[in-house]
């Protein structure tokens, strides 16, 4: 489970940069981003509450894949590239993908990223590629994995050491980088975990709950600074 406190988010985009670095996301380039082809696995969406000077206020909505329990992207894939993993993640099997882009159309959160061109890593970017993560080819869909490589590693280390996972042991790149600590990751099924406690907050909500997509991402509503 991932909890994002919108009160804390400053829209600094550090999570986006961390995600690019961690997950070997190719940089699309300025003109491609202008076309709407940025490969952001996590987007920081900016919405204006007021644009009247001097009372200019914005809300920032960091939006990674919601890893829906009932994911609309999954059943529409003809080749089972988008499937549900046993631990509830919504996985994208790159090797199966043929690029129909149906999943992206059906994603209500528009968080799926398509490789319109083969990713490029201009020197020295290729030096910092993460060996735990594949580099995806042209013509396939990809998206946020909740840093599944970190989840697997932490779990295997715990297994080797013969112990249970500790709360806070798994930290995705975005949560690790977030300067104000707006993003928290943990086991939502453990009621004592930090995320479970945060999610119980009165401010907690999930995006588009009426769609019954059952996302494990909980947002904490932005409290108005004036009205409390």
């Amino acid at each position: 489970m991932l909890v994002v406190d919108l009160n804390l988010c400053t829209g600094c985009q550090a999570c986006v940069a961390a995600c690019f670095a961690e997950n070997n996301i190719g940089v699309a380039g300025e003109d491609q981003v202008a076309m709407g082809r940025g490969r952001h696995w996590i987007k920081v969406e900016r919405y204006w509450r007021s644009t009247e000077y001097p009372d200019v206020r914005a809300v920032y909505l960091p939006l990674p894949c919601q890893q829906c329990g009932n994911a609309p992207c999954e059943p529409v894939c003809p080749v089972f590239a988008s499937v549900h993993s046993k631990d509830g993640l919504n996985s994208q099997v790159y090797n199966r993908c043929i690029g129909t882009r149906y999943c992206a159309q059906n994603c209500p959160y528009k968080v799926r990223v398509f490789n319109y061109f083969a990713p490029r890593f201009d020197p020295p970017l290729e030096q910092q590629l993460n060996p735990d993560v594949t580099v995806r080819s042209v013509g396939i869909m990809e998206k946020c994995t909740f840093c599944v490589q970190r989840i697997r590693r932490a779990r295997e280390e715990a297994k080797v050491e013969g112990r249970e996972l500790v709360d806070g042991e798994i930290v995705p790149a975005c949560a690790q980088t977030c300067p104000p600590g707006a993003i928290v990751f943990g086991d939502g099924e453990d009621p004592r975990s930090q995320v479970a406690r945060l999610a119980r907050s009165e401010r907690g909500f999930r995006l588009f709950e009426s769609l019954n997509t059952k996302p494990p991402v909980v947002y904490l509503k932005k409290g108005d600074t004036k009205n409390g």
Binding site: R46, L63, P75, F80, R96, I98, Y102, A104
Partner: protein
Amino acid sequence: MADDARSGARGGHDPGSPSPEETARRLEAAGVRTTPAATEAELARLDRALDDQVFRSMSAISLRFVLVVLFLGGVVTLGAFAFGWQIYRGIGVTGLNRPVFWGFYITSFVFWIGISHSGTLVSAILRVLKVEWRRPLTRAAEAMTVFALMIGGLFPIIHLGRNWRFYWMIPIPNDRGLWPNFRSALMWDLLAILTYITASSLFLYFPLVPDLAAARDRSRGIRHKVYAVLSLGWRGTQQQWHRLHLGMRIFTVIVIPIAVSVHSIVSWDFGMTLVEGWRSTIFAPYFVIGAIYSGVAALISVLIVLRKATHLEDYLTVRHIDRMGKVLLAVAVIWFYFFWSGYLTDWYGGNAVARALQDLHTVGAMAPLFWAMIVVNMAVPFLFLWWRRVRTNMAAMLAISLLVNVGMWIERFLIVVTSPMRNSLSFDWGGYRPGWPEIAIVSATFAAFALLYVIFSKLLPLISTWEVKEGWRIDRWQREGVVELETDVPTLSEPGGAR
């Protein structure tokens, strides 16, 4: 259907009803003039004229033909080059982005599947209803379906990010032990189109067999050999005719629900999603009627061009176009009815995204397209097709039918491409501008459609000669009491006949 020739009248004349001579005498006494049934000699003359016309147009190759083939072939080659470029560089050479993941290709896919709809469906419905005037135009209509499907079926493959992996969708046992996902509407699509292209090709082929035999008997050399194989050793025995009729009867009945299911499934590609502007329960019938609309219009265009180009004006007549014009008018009204039902409910619901989408259509960036669609799909057919003067004017009908198809292409574009431009997260709204390969490939498919017809006209008879000949005889058989008149109302035995 020619089996009307055998369905009734097993025992010849009913002893209770008057004999043909008696009827003729009574009619004459009542001041009704009866035309005598055609004699065998007259029928033979008609047959010969038809054969001459149809089979001659197959053999003569003019300079104009060569030029047309070269031009169309050139456009198709450009499209093939564009597709190669797209594979080499990546699908990014298109104008697709996030959130508009589907563009010209899927628009054209829906469009061509729509065009494919009417040929087989019109032919099958006319056959089921035993409409006599269908006889000269079924072949051209059935061919239209096959060609449009051949083209439409390519688009989902062209559209893929990894086109070279398209066969992963085919349900065959493989080394991964993984079957495709039959819950995906795209898999339904694949199977529906596979079924439809098989059915419509065979629906074209079945009644073609006797004509292929006729072409075989008229040709020599390599052409003769090819026709001999294709005509399946057809000799025209009563047994073979019987089998053909039975096969056609099974096919005609089965092909109608297939045709309806195909476009329903195409609509469900959209209807099954959560995308505003797509998710709708009305989509299946709306798409089916839209498909029939564009298909009838395309059939009118095709018939007008064909009759002119191959000098078959005596068989593909102005009256055919006139009748198809009435059908087009009726379908236009039904289409608008479905369109309006969807539009009204979206507006009334007041959903913010639906409203944003409607604003985009009616006053936003897409307004020119939207209003053009309303004008050419609704206003033009509705204002003009009431008039017989218009329906019998070939230039006007060609213009209207082409305009309707322009409008239907726009309609599909507005549904497929513009709906994802608006969604619940206004941060992710977007636009779309097609890349040059998309324009080149879409143009190439229109050229390919024309090219297939041009080639077809030289290889296969454009008119089902045996069915027309059979039609000429039905009248006589009815007068002779060999075949029953298809009517439930008491008649003076047989005045008039089916012609």
